[in-house]
Subunit: 255 residues, 2 copies
């Protein structure tokens, strides 16, 4: 919580571990550089990074070519602070997405973004990015898939909520359904353990484009979690012999 230098070093080491395991796309949790449970806006601002902060170099300097890293962070944007996800490669920053659906007390610390998820062209394909509560609005993964996203990177911080015995976290179920509805593989990176009395779900998981869990964190929730996703041809939403998940839509009727 608030220990930015230590968090960046932990990120650097975790990304290196994932890359050593063969990962081409690495996703870290929401607000991974800062912590989540801020006491006030000043604390959030103190832990915020500018996009051009030289400390980003520590995470990207040793990346192999073609590897993409998505990291949630508190973004210092001058007059405002955002809950943002950075899309990074060694050769350059591909972009940033600012969370637009703010949960809980986040509006005390962050301004809302002005897009409902975003899509970036990356070395691993067209990459959708959303942050945590964004994905509980089914419109978000849907619109990213319709915009051509092949994989969704989803940094989250899921506070642990009650669920019936034997059930997955509800947010996981929502992500599985969204993945299947739009054939959108989804890489979830969650916080684990607890922070200032908030227990986390530890829901880190990789969901394939049929909506099934390809790999998930063991009990406790620690990463890294690594899986190989075999994606269909980009944009192929066909359900042979008669159907297609996108062509069967009736957008004229969705008003």
């Amino acid at each position: 919580m608030g220990e930015v230098a230590a968090n960046i070093e932990a990120l650097r080491a975790a990304v290196a571990e994932a890359v050593a395991a063969g990962a081409q796309l690495v996703v870290a949790p929401e607000l991974a550089t800062s912590g989540y449970v801020f006491a006030d806006g000043e604390e959030a601002r103190a832990a915020a990074l500018r996009r051009d902060d030289p400390r980003w170099e520590a995470i990207t300097a040793d990346l192999p070519d073609g590897v993409v890293v998505v990291v949630g962070y508190a973004e210092d944007a001058g007059d405002r602070v955002f809950n943002t996800a950075a899309v990074l490669t060694r050769s350059g920053r591909l972009g940033d997405y600012r969370k637009s659906h703010l949960w809980g007390e986040e509006s005390r610390f962050f301004a809302p973004g002005d897009a409902a998820g975003a899509v970036f062209d990356t070395p691993v394909g067209r990459l959708g990015v959303a942050v945590c509560y964004d994905n509980e609005f089914p419109e978000v993964p849907r619109r990213l898939a319709l915009a051509g996203a092949e994989v969704l990177a989803l940094p989250v911080n899921w506070p642990l909520v009650d669920r019936p015995a034997g059930e997955r976290a509800p947010e996981t179920i929502q992500a599985m359904a969204a993945a299947r509805s739009s054939r959108l593989a989804t890489v979830i990176a969650d916080r684990h353990g607890s922070e200032r009395g908030v227990a986390w779900t530890g829901g880190t998981a990789i969901i394939d484009d049929d909506g099934w869990i390809a790999a998930a964190a063991a009990a406790g929730g620690a990463g890294p979690v690594v899986a190989t996703l075999r994606l269909r041809h980009p944009g192929d939403k066909s359900l042979p012999p008669h159907n297609d998940l996108f062509r069967d839509r009736r957008p004229d009727l969705y008003t």
Copy 2:
């Protein structure tokens, strides 16, 4: 398959059994009066019912006041046949919804409807109705909930598909997610057994407005399945203390 008189008698008996168990809303599967696996359009037409067919009386005549029954049927609409769900009470027919997302070979037998689900005012509240594949388009349950549906009646015929060991049917996961996203309790009535070589999922289940399974058919899939749903105040989508599932939407960003 095609034995309309026998199917209506089976429906009458099943509805009476559910009512005797205390049900106020009874949902039967898609195409419950006709069978599903038609060989050709002539067979579908031969098993179709007009809305004013006197045989509907057999299902409704003995209903207690206030009970609502939703039945999937092949609708003879003169020049066209639709895959329709009827919303019935003893004192009158409240309406019909024609499936608009046709799956598999259905377009050989049925014309598509011109609405993506529908909402009816009934003695059990504002009732959303969709049919099977409709609900795999997240836009459908979402728009019904936004239109005020408190409960979704979902007649389905889910052909059994592969799934990982220990997982629920994918359509169930999609319905759970949709229910939670919009706080929309969902009553699924599925076919079971098999028909002309098509094995059915037997996914009959009642999902509460948090997206959890309140009751589900036992192995084999036979009904009736009965549960008491405790619904929140109609239209209450609040997530205290800071959030609201609907007010937190950013529809301006969903284009």
